[in-house]
Every structure is written in structure tokens, then in C-alpha cells.
Symmetry: C2
Subunit: 338 residues, 2 copies
Amino acid sequence: MKVVITGGAGFLGKKLARRLLQQGEMMGPEGRPERLSELLLFDVAQAAGPGLDDPRVSAVAGDIANFATVQSIVQNAATVFHFAAVVSAGAEADFDLGYRVNLNGTRNVLEACRALGSNPRVVFTSSLAAFGGDLPPAVTDDTPLTPQTSYGAQKSIGEFLVRDYTRKGFLRGTSVRLPTICVRTGLPNKAASTWASSVVREPLTGVDVVCPVTPETIMVVLSPRKTVDAFVRLHDLPVDSFGPGRTLLLNGINVTARELEQAVGRHAGNRKVGKVTWQHDPSIQRICDGWPQGIDSKRAGWLGFETDRDLDEIVRNFIADDLDEQMKLTASVSLPPP
Amino acid sequence: MKVVITGGAGFLGKKLARRLLQQGEMMGPEGRPERLSELLLFDVAQAAGPGLDDPRVSAVAGDIANFATVQSIVQNAATVFHFAAVVSAGAEADFDLGYRVNLNGTRNVLEACRALGSNPRVVFTSSLAAFGGDLPPAVTDDTPLTPQTSYGAQKSIGEFLVRDYTRKGFLRGTSVRLPTICVRTGLPNKAASTWASSVVREPLTGVDVVCPVTPETIMVVLSPRKTVDAFVRLHDLPVDSFGPGRTLLLNGINVTARELEQAVGRHAGNRKVGKVTWQHDPSIQRICDGWPQGIDSKRAGWLGFETDRDLDEIVRNFIADDLDEQMKLTASVSLPPP
């Protein structure tokens, strides 16, 4: 079977790609495991990196807002993971770009999948940013969507589209509301939450870092390992497992910026550790404060989706899975001075 | 000030137009009443009818999915009432048309208003169809949106857009979730709720009618009078009155199809009354059963929005306000035999 990952050159896209290649098979449209024959990674730049040099992989660069392009990449696909997005602070800074990629791009993916006529499996990454404002201590499967950012609005809209296309029988869709992924590898991005990874990643690679929020700021996080586990698991579950909303809210653990900084100290060993400087940015703080301070998804629990045990596990796994590659990257670029 | 009504040739558009013309002024962008200098009625067909032959009215026909058209009609507008839509059963039957008008059309209106740069007032008609499925006995201001139709999805998406454009300071938007308007004048439309008006209107004009749902089917209704009152009232209220969701859920009263039929009998007087035949249509029944069976909006109550006292008041006001015009219309067309 052919699988497409949009945003396939991104951090999460590549992580999922490696897992799928390793695994070699996944649930097919007939409800039984099938061999992965083609994995198409689509992004604005061509996906490359360790583990992706595989005859099953094709990396295509293009514009998700171009329908003909999207139609050509999803040709014959049994599954599309739709990750491509302009992230939170990016979509807030460039309103038109956000709607172009996050709304028009998503509509293109859904329309192209509909045009296949084969009822493909579609997994759409929504976000905790779909919630906001006056929230309960922990958001649940039934908390109304009240986004406070354009990114959150676009993700909410994407969920309604996935639900409607699925209801009409055009595709078999699930939207996944992701907590903040921590620790992300690569360079800092334009997500308002990017500090939650930076304050661990940069110090462990010997680089100083500026944290733009107060030490008490809470973020609900999930590790890349558990996130990729979740994508594989939810893909293979019956599409009706996710309720009439066709949505999976993934649980995470609550950590503060200070706790993230402190966890680095506990696991640094003999490494030369970069320093965290606290330099408050009100616009980033405002976006982060508007997000949920906790998640309690009963459905994710029932369906067996796991969180990380604690922050120590998250940092240990980052060191085991990603630190070597990150060190090479850090050596090859010059990060802006904090 | 210039006011635009999209869907201005429709039943509700024309009712509101007449009220605004009569009233002669409304709240302007500076927060004080201003004289209505121009009322542009936009629709697929040119708006015409009693009360619209007024020097302040211009009626324009065109396609709301054409951005240049929309940009030209909103030029210099201080207020846009965006009513134009493909209704529920219509959007369900023609998926592409529904998204073209209800999503692309709404985006065009919002983008054109943004391009004005003058932060215009925008009132968007959402719908109870934004709710659906497993609902509480009465939906409230906090009930999550769970549409079960493409129309409901498109209206939900419109609300998110209105909220985001308002938050960004591009316009001053309010979305209004309307109960079923009863009694609508004119011909039956493609709304799955159209029977709620037909079983009153047709019999009172001497025409037999088929009701496609069971007599026990509940509909939450609001009269055209109270609906137009609500539009005028909400337009003039401060835009921040409607909470972070920028949404007003209008209360209505619950009536069954049987109660509607019976109310006609009580008010028919000496008129020759048409007969209701019950002929069940499962697809219409399914759509109607998915909608809320009650509404309890505390916000609408606090803000002084009124429902009709009872069904008798609704039928009496239909007879007083609309029956003569409806009789002329009925005489001029041949309704399909029930």
C-alpha cells in the first residue's frame, strides 16, 4: 500500500516515516495488515535524512495550496497523514499564509482524497490550540473548541471538514489533537510552544537558550516516541473508534518551563550544558497562557493511548533517540545568539 | 451609512430590509445612530417586492463565490448582514455547491470586509444545525458544536472564521444561531425544516400540504417578527456583548408538527383550509431528529432577546403580517400537488 505524509520533511513526519519503514506493514483498506510498498513524503522542501534513503521512499517538494500538486501526490494512496501546517506563531504573524496552507491546503488534501473514490484513510493533526480562553483545569473529549489564535481556528475548521468528509463516505478520517511535542529535534520553529523543546535540547547540545515565558508557565507535553506510537495505533484502529467527532484528544503530562530546565541538570552527565536565560516575550506568553493547562481524555485512555511516565523518561529518551543527530545538526549551523 | 444584505432577495433578507428602511437609521461605526443612506440587497436573483421600491435600495444579482463581485458590493459598507446560503437539505444533496456558497462565499464576504480596512460590522447567520447527535435536552451557550450535516459543518466553520477575523481586528463580527423561522413566507425551500412553515402557511392559503416527518417531531421555532427584532437589536449592541465566541444563540419555543397543524385550526376563521397529509421521508426525518429539541441561551436572555409567547401568537402574526401577500403569491404559482 502507498502512504503519504504531508509535512514529511518536518520533525514529526520524518519520525513517523522511519517508524513505518521499520515496521514494514500497516492496516490496509481491507482491514488486514498490508505491506508498505511506497511512502511519499511531501513538503515545501525535499525530505532527507537518516533512515529515509530507502527504495520505498519518494520525497516530493511542492505547494500544498496547489490542488494539482496535491492530487498528483495522493494518487493511489491508501493512507494520508496530513501534517503540513504553518505553526501557531507563524500563522498569527502571517494571516494570509496561515489560511492558505492550513485551510486551503487541508481542503486540497481532503478534496484530492475524495476524488480518489477509494475511501482512503486520512489522519489529520489538529492541536490543543483549538482550545483556549476560559478553560476547565483539564480539557476533555467534550470541551468546546474555543481557539484564540488563527492557527487554532484553522485546526478547528480542519476537524469539521474531516468529520464532514468522513460522514459523507468520501474518506475515513481521524483528527488528532496533539499536546506540545517535547523534545522536538531540529531547529527552533515558529510555534509559540517551541521553547518547551528548546530549553531541553539546546542546553543538552551545549548551546545557550533564551526562554520567552516565565518559569511557571505550564505546557502539556508528549514525547516524539509516544506521539509516533499514537499515530501508528490510531491509524490501525477502526475508524469508528473516535466517536462522532472523529477526533482523538491525546493526553500529555503537565510540566513547567522551570521543571524542563531542571530535568536537563539531572540527566546531563558529563556534558557541557548550555544556559537558560529568561527573557519574557508578552506575545508568546499570551498565546501559551491561552492554551489548556491540562488534558483528561477518557477516550484516549480507553483506547490504550499512553503518556510518558514523567519528565525524566522524556529527557532520557531524547538523549537515547535523538541527541547524537541533534549534536551533528548543531555543529553544522550557527544558532542565533540568545 | 451603507448596509449590505447578502441573500437580500430571500425571505429573511427582504423582511430585514423593510424593517431597516422603515426605521431609517441604525447604529453606525462611531457608536451613534446614523441615517441609512444606501441598502444594497445582493442575491443570485435581483431582490424585488413590496416595500423595496425605495431610492435607498439597490438590488444586485451575482455569485457570492466570485470575490470580485463580493468586493464590489461591500465597497464603502458600514454593515454587512451575511445571510446568503445554500440551505440544509440543499447542501446535503449538492456537496460542492454547499461548500462553494457556504464556505467560499462566506470567506469572500469576510475577506472583502477585511480589505475595506474600516473594521465594518458583520452579522453572520449561523444555525441550530451546528449542533447535532447526542445532545442535552436543551442546547446552551456552552454546548459544543457537533454538526451532523454539511450545512451545519459549513455554518460552524463560518463561526470560527467570524471569530478569528474579529479577533484580528479586521471586522466586528457576530454569528447568530437561528432557530427554525416559522412561519416563513414564499415557496417551500430545500431546508429540511421547511415543513415547519408549510404546515401552517399552505393550509391557511387553502392549499393541501404533505408533512414529511412524524406528527411528534419537535422543532424549535422563532417568528420572522422576533427574528428581525433580534437582528436589529444585536446589530446595535456593542460587539463585545456576545462573549469570546462572538456568537448569539437565539432562544425559540418548542413545537411539534401536530401542534403546528392544530394551531391553524384555531385561527383559520372562515377561511377554506388546506389539508395536511403525513407522508414520512426518512432522510428529512433523520436530519430534523439530529437537531436540538430545545434551546436555553442565558446570554440571549440577559441581553433582552425575546421569544414568541406561544404558537398562537406566531400564527396570529403570520396572518396579520404576511397572509395577504402569501395569498397573492399562491394564486400566481401552481404548487406541486402534495
